[in-house]
């Protein structure tokens, strides 16, 4: 199925370290809804808390001084509770909502400087979006829905239908191409949404909570579908969710939003292993840590009396993957990187982290 988690984490971490050109770079992005938006640049009001700001100006700060980089080919997840500004943020990236302040660069191009014509061009060819409520056209068949983006950018009928057919097959809707959206289940409708977003062969795909309207089993299918598509077509993806399990499952890099600002950014294991504050800790407290964390997070320094001939693992091994080995030996596991022993992990620690679900930290 997917790449082993180990490798995914490794590649993402490596890219971040070596400074590959980001596909999307966001710098100091703000979005304010309401009358205050027009005259806000540089105003001391921006220092106020959200509630204070609302009281004084009657306007809402939905996104507050957000900066991040999205690397080519990664799945970048934005997570947060309802109302934390995720939808607003992702819409600001394609200017479906006009940002109030800040910069959004797509491959170095300032999107805020684009005129209407250029912006349409970008939307037609460079990025696409999948919506929570699907946004399908009920009066068109599935295939015409999938071909819609190609139609409005002026592709000829034959090639665009051929492409749409191909996309329907890719997402497993080959049998439903002539149906109308309301004849499909929710999961199938969202597959149409996926196919439509893929049809234009965009460079970046945005997902705004695409699966939260679906029931849990279908949701899992669709998540796997996204993982599969990510490997087959290799798009850069920006994925919004309020579901931590989904974020951990899909994300190479996760940012957590609260009240419009980013409170933590990091790999899934960083988020789970070292929550930046109580808000994030609350989020992650129910996660089965053994499935996310690597040995690096639970190892301890070696003591003189330790037996140093136990089994070896690299530090990026997920705890869960070391369980069966740890269970067969009394000796502590050695965490080894490039021949050097970084630390030791006791069998008890491994079993303990598997049991740990409810406790903090």
């Amino acid at each position: 199925m997917a790449l082993p988690e180990v490798e995914r984490v490794q590649t993402a971490q490596a890219d971040r370290a070596t400074g590959v050109e980001p596909t999307i770079a966001v710098r100091g992005l703000w979005k304010i809804f309401g009358p205050a938006e027009a005259k806000i640049a540089g105003s001391p009001l921006l220092e106020l808390s959200n509630a204070e700001f609302r009281l004084q100006t009657g306007s809402t700060i939905a996104v507050r001084d957000v900066s991040f980089d999205v690397r080519p080919g990664e799945v970048f997840v934005v997570m947060g509770l309802s109302g934390s500004g995720k939808s607003t943020l992702v819409r600001c990236l394609t200017r479906l909502i006009e940002p109030s302040l800040g910069q959004v660069l797509l491959d170095g191009e300032d999107i805020r400087a684009a005129d209407a014509e250029r912006l349409r061009e970008l939307r037609r060819r460079r990025f696409s979006m999948v919506f929570q409520n699907f946004g399908l056209l009920p009066h068109r068949r599935v295939i015409d829905n999938v071909a819609f983006g190609l139609e409005i950018r002026g592709d000829a009928r034959e090639p665009r239908l051929a492409r749409a057919r191909e996309m329907c097959e890719l997402v497993g809707l080959a049998a439903f191409m002539d149906s109308y959206p309301d004849q499909l289940s929710g999961g199938q409708q969202q597959r149409v949404g996926l196919a439509r977003a893929l049809a234009g062969d965009p460079e970046v795909m945005f997902f705004d909570e695409p699966f939260s309207a679906l029931d849990p089993l279908i949701r899992r299918d669709m998540q796997n579908e996204v993982i599969r598509l990510h490997h087959e077509v290799g798009k850069t993806m920006v994925f919004i969710t309020h579901d931590l399990a989904e974020a951990l499952k899909l994300g190479d890099h996760i940012v957590i939003m609260r009240d419009g600002r980013i409170v933590q950014a990091g790999s899934p294991e960083e988020v789970v292993g070292a929550p930046a504050d109580d808000y994030v800790a609350d989020f992650v407290q129910d996660v089965a840590k053994a499935n996310i964390l690597t040995l690096r997070w639970i190892m301890r320094p070696a003591r003189p009396d330790d037996a140093l001939d136990g089994p070896e693992f690299p530090p990026t091994t997920i705890i869960r993957d070391a369980v069966h080995v740890a269970a067969q030996t009394e000796k502590p596991i050695r965490v080894v990187d490039g021949g050097a022993t970084l630390g030791l992990v006791d069998r008890r620690q491994i079993l303990g982290s598997i049991a740990e679900r409810g406790a903090r930290g």
Binding site: G135, L136, R153, G200
Partner: protein
């Protein structure tokens, strides 16, 4: 600080409102008793406003051919519309009755099926049988011309209002005003600019019907799912592409409804325009009404109802058809479609033939049936033999309710009345409402129509009280019993497709021309929508609230009074608002059957040269009355919603 200030404002009225109201009522009563009969504004035939409008009329007729504005705007508009309506009427006649009947059948089959085709065919045939073929074709031609132009202007405006908040903000108040303007109020200004006759009748009709076209179109565009529009934009669609590929296709059901409503409103108005010499069935009715000839009015009224029902069902089915998906396996449909095509060809052929055979454009007089004779006999019998029943009812109402109220309103100092209504406005809707109310009343006084205004106001208030009483009772009954609701539904449907004029006929049949007749007609006219709104309001009370009531042991009665009615309060107020607007419109029309006052002034303005100014002033006074009553009920509605928002 800000918070404490608002809470103080909130707290103040709850403490003093009751005392305030009591004080206000008391002082009004005292002032009335003390100053009764003083400071009134009796009728004044030479009021400045009448003379002013007469002067305007004279100036317009002197300069019609020289003043650039009149030549370009009024002249050209009239010429364009004249060409349109003349062509339309000529075509309606030229098709000939065999052609028209066949085409109605074809349309019925295509839109709905056999039953609808049957309705179309018998409907059109009976127009001929009633001996009203030519008048009916005039009405249909005029209506068609007005509908086409109304849609040509209204749909684009509606699209603009649906897509842009700014356009909507500009258009909305205008539409609000137009929607409460009774049909009568449009007539006088039309004659001033466009003279009398078919063109100005068409213009009045198209203006009357247009707000609905604009509103429903805008609603349809706004109703398109925001995500779907956003998805299209996110794929890079231009504004045009979004409109034509997403918004219009998804709003097409509402667009069809807009066409349907525009037709129905235009048909109703087309009949009224007979007062400014619009051709068609309206003329027949007005002649019959003014001669107290109920029988002929019934014939013509029936013809109008038939046209209304046929056009309504045809467009309604066509609208439902819009969303139907092509379904190859449906063989009955396929047969219908083939037959429809045959009928269409036959109809076109028949129309072509009647171009040369003039006889086909006239319905054969040998086949004819009129209700006039028998109806008049029945009416005569009723008026004599049921006199013992109808007269006491009428007298009780006239002497017990109408006269006293009228006496109060006309004998009180006019400033006291302005003050009282303004105070009411402030209480229910705030200072703005109070100000609007006083401006309206002062305006009526300024127009020199105070007394007529108060008489019309009396009739409206009595009519509204009756309408609400009956409407709310039946509405509650319908909401609580599926059976009642099922029986009422087709009646209400039919009632709401009938143009207002028709309602005068039964009222007139029972009671000869009096104020009471007009009020009764107004009540019959306004009750159906009130029933609808009350029923819908009670039914839309959330099930959870009712279950909560039941589980705490409420009896059905308590449930109604403590849960359903309070929660349906907004719909009840909306019902009151609708009722008032409709009653006023009809009370004015009742000027034709003895209601006198403002409605009569308007009608007299068209027939008497020297009364033109008074008629125009009366039209304006009607609008002012309408705005006042609408503001007071709307204000109450807004206040109640603000109250519930605060509570929730």
């Amino acid at each position: 600080m800000a918070a404490s200030a608002t809470s103080a404002v909130r707290a103040a009225p709850t403490i003093s409102r009751r005392t305030l109201v009591t004080l206000l009522c008391l002082s009004v009563v005292v002032l009335f008793v003390v100053f009764r009969g003083q400071g009134t504004l009796p009728r004044d035939e030479g009021a400045a406003s009448f003379q002013f409008f007469n002067g305007v009329r004279d100036w317009v007729s002197d300069n019609r051919l020289t003043n650039p504005f009149l030549v370009v705007f009024a002249g050209a508009t009239r010429a364009i519309i004249a060409a349109l309506v003349d062509t339309s009427i000529v075509i309606a006649h030229g098709i000939g009755w065999p052609g028209a009947v066949l085409l109605a059948g074809a349309a019925g089959l295509a839109a709905g099926g056999r039953r609808l085709a049957l309705l179309g065919v018998t409907g059109f045939l009976s127009l001929g049988v009633l001996g009203l073929w030519s008048e009916s074709m005039d009405t249909i031609g005029l209506t068609f011309a007005a509908v086409v132009s109304s849609l040509l202007i209204g749909v684009p405006l509606g699209i603009a209002a649906g897509r842009s908040d700014r356009v909507r903000q500009v258009i909305s108040p205008v539409l609000d005003l137009m929607q409460i303007m009774p049909s009568f109020a449009y007539l006088a200004p039309m004659t001033l600019l466009f003279l009398i006759g078919a063109p100005s009748a068409t213009i009045a009709t198209l203006i009357y019907a247009m707000p609905a076209a604009i509103r429903i179109t805008a609603l349809g565009i706004r109703g398109v799912s925001a995500t779907t529009v956003e998805a299209a934009v996110s794929l890079g669609s231009t504004s045009r592409q979004t409109l034509f590929k997403v918004q219009l296709p998804l709003a097409r059901k509402m667009l069809a409804l807009a066409v349907n409503q525009t037709i129905m409103l235009a048909l109703g108005m087309a009949v009224v325009t007979a007062l400014i010499d619009g051709p068609g069935l309206g003329k027949t009715i007005i002649k019959a009404l003014t001669h107290n000839d109920v029988g002929s009015a019934v014939d013509a009224g029936l013809a109008i109802v038939i046209i209304a029902i046929v056009l309504d069902r045809l467009t309604e089915h066509a609208a439902n058809r819009v969303d139907a998906r092509p379904n190859a396996s449906d063989s009955a449909r396929a047969v219908n479609r083939r037959v429809a095509r045959v009928l269409l060809v036959a109809g076109l052929a028949a129309s072509l033939v009647s171009l040369f055979v003039v006889a086909l454009t006239e319905f054969p007089t040998e086949i004819g049936f009129s209700f006039a004779g028998p109806v008049n006999e029945i009416v005569g019998w009723v008026r004599i033999n049921l006199y013992f029943l109808t007269n006491p009812v009428k007298d009780a109402f006239s002497y017990g309710v109408i006269n006293p109220l009228e006496a109060i309103l006309t004998s009180a100092p006019w400033l006291l009345i302005v003050g009282t209504f303004a105070g009411l406005g402030v209480l229910v809707g705030g200072w703005r409402t109070g100000a609007i109310v006083s401006v309206c009343l002062v305006g009526i006084a300024g127009l020199g129509l105070w007394e007529d205004g108060m008489v019309t106001l009396t009739a409206s208030l009595v009519g509204v009280a009756l309408t609400l009483l009956i409407g709310v009772l039946i509405g509650i009954a319908a909401a609580r019993s599926e059976r009642t609701s099922a029986i009422l539904r087709p009646l209400l449907d039919t009632a709401q497709t009938m143009p207002s004029f028709v309602y005068l006929i039964p009222a007139l049949a029972l009671f000869s021309p009096t104020r009471f007749t007009a009020i009764l007609a107004a009540v019959i006219y306004a009750v159906p929508p009130v029933i609808r709104l009350v029923e819908a309001g009670i039914r839309s009370v959330p099930l959870a609230a009712i279950e909560a009531g039941v589980s705490s042991g409420a009896s059905p009665r308590q449930l109604l009074w403590k849960v359903q009615l309070p929660m349906a309060r907004r719909s009840l107020l909306l019902a009151a608002n609708q009722g008032i607007v409709m009653v006023l419109a009809m009370v004015v029309v009742g000027g034709l059957v003895g209601a006198g006052a403002l409605g009569y002034d308007v009608v007299a303005g068209f027939s008497q040269y020297e009364d033109f100014g008074k008629g125009l002033s009366a039209g304006i006074a009607i609008v002012l009355l309408g705005v006042m009553l609408d503001r007071i009920t709307q204000g109450a509605g807004e206040r109640s919603s603000a109250g519930s928002a605060r509570a929730g």
